[in-house]
Amino acid sequence: MSSRTNARGQQQPIRQTNPRDPSGNISKHLKVLEDAGIVERKVEGRVHQFKLRRKALEQVGRWIARHQAFWEGAVNQLDRLLAEGASDDRG
C-alpha cells in the first residue's frame, strides 16, 4: 500500500485534494489509520505519501485475535456454569 512516487512521477500519489476523492472520505480514512499508527504519512509539498506499518498492523491483529478467543472461550464457560444453575442460590 506504500504509494511511493518516483522522480518521474510514474505512480499516482494520494493528494489531499485528490479529484478521485471529492468527498474527502479516503483522506478521512487515512487520517484514522495514521492516528492508529497503522500507516505512516510523509508530506512532500502537496503530495502525501502513505506507507503501511505492517508490523503494527500484525500486532493489533494478534491483540484482537487473542481477546476474541478469550471471550469466546469464556462465554462458553459461562453458558456451562449457568446451565449448572450456579447463580440460582444468590437469593
Partner: protein, 154 residues
C-alpha cells in the same frame, strides 16, 4: 468499520435471565468458575471489589507457560444490564500495559438474555510495538539470568 478503535466483540444468546448472567460477573466465587478461555487455564481472583471505582485482579495459570495477570477497575455497574471495566495485562506479556476496556451489555431477550461483550483497545498500534520491544529486552535479561543460575545449580 474503519472509524472504530480495534476491538473484539462477542454476541451470545443465553437461556437465562439477565439477573443470572449479571451475577456471574458480580461474584468472585462465580468468576473463578468461568472467566477464563478454557478449563485448562485456571483463573484465581487476587482482588475483587465489584463496585464503581473498585478494582479487580485476576491471575491466569496457563499450562506450561507463565501466569498472566490482568487487572482493572469498574467504571460502570448497572445491574442487571451493564458493566464497564478497564483491562490491562501486567508484564511480562506480549500485550502488557496496553490500555483497553470491556463493555458488557445484558438485555432481556425472550425468556433469556442477549449478552454482548465488546473489548476495545486504546492507543496507537505502535504503542504495542514499543511495549513489546521493552519487555523483550527484559525477558532476554531474565532468561540470561536464569540460564546463569541454572549453570551454577549444575
Amino acid at each position: 468499520m474503519i472509524e472504530d478503535e480495534p476491538c473484539a466483540e462477542i454476541r451470545r444468546r443465553l437461556a437465562y435471565a439477565p439477573e443470572k448472567v449479571f451475577t456471574a460477573f458480580a461474584k468472585a466465587e462465580l468468576v473463578t468458575r468461568w472467566l477464563t478461555p478454557s478449563p485448562e487455564i485456571k483463573v484465581t481472583v487476587l482482588q475483587f471489589d465489584f463496585r464503581e471505582g473498585g478494582s479487580y485482579r485476576f491471575a491466569y495459570q496457563v499450562p506450561e507457560s507463565a501466569t498472566v495477570i490482568v487487572a482493572g477497575s469498574y467504571s460502570v455497574i448497572r445491574p442487571p444490564s451493564k458493566i464497564v471495566f478497564s483491562w490491562v495485562i501486567e508484564p511480562p506479556d506480549e500485550h502488557a500495559g496496553i490500555q483497553s476496556e470491556v463493555t458488557v451489555t445484558i438485555t432481556p431477550e425472550g425468556s433469556g438474555s442477549a449478552l454482548v461483550i465488546r473489548h476495545q483497545k486504546f492507543g496507537r498500534a505502535d504503542a504495542i510495538e514499543r511495549h513489546a520491544a521493552g519487555w523483550r529486552g527484559a525477558t532476554e535479561q531474565l532468561t540470561e539470568l536464569l540460564e546463569q543460575e541454572g549453570q551454577h545449580g549444575r
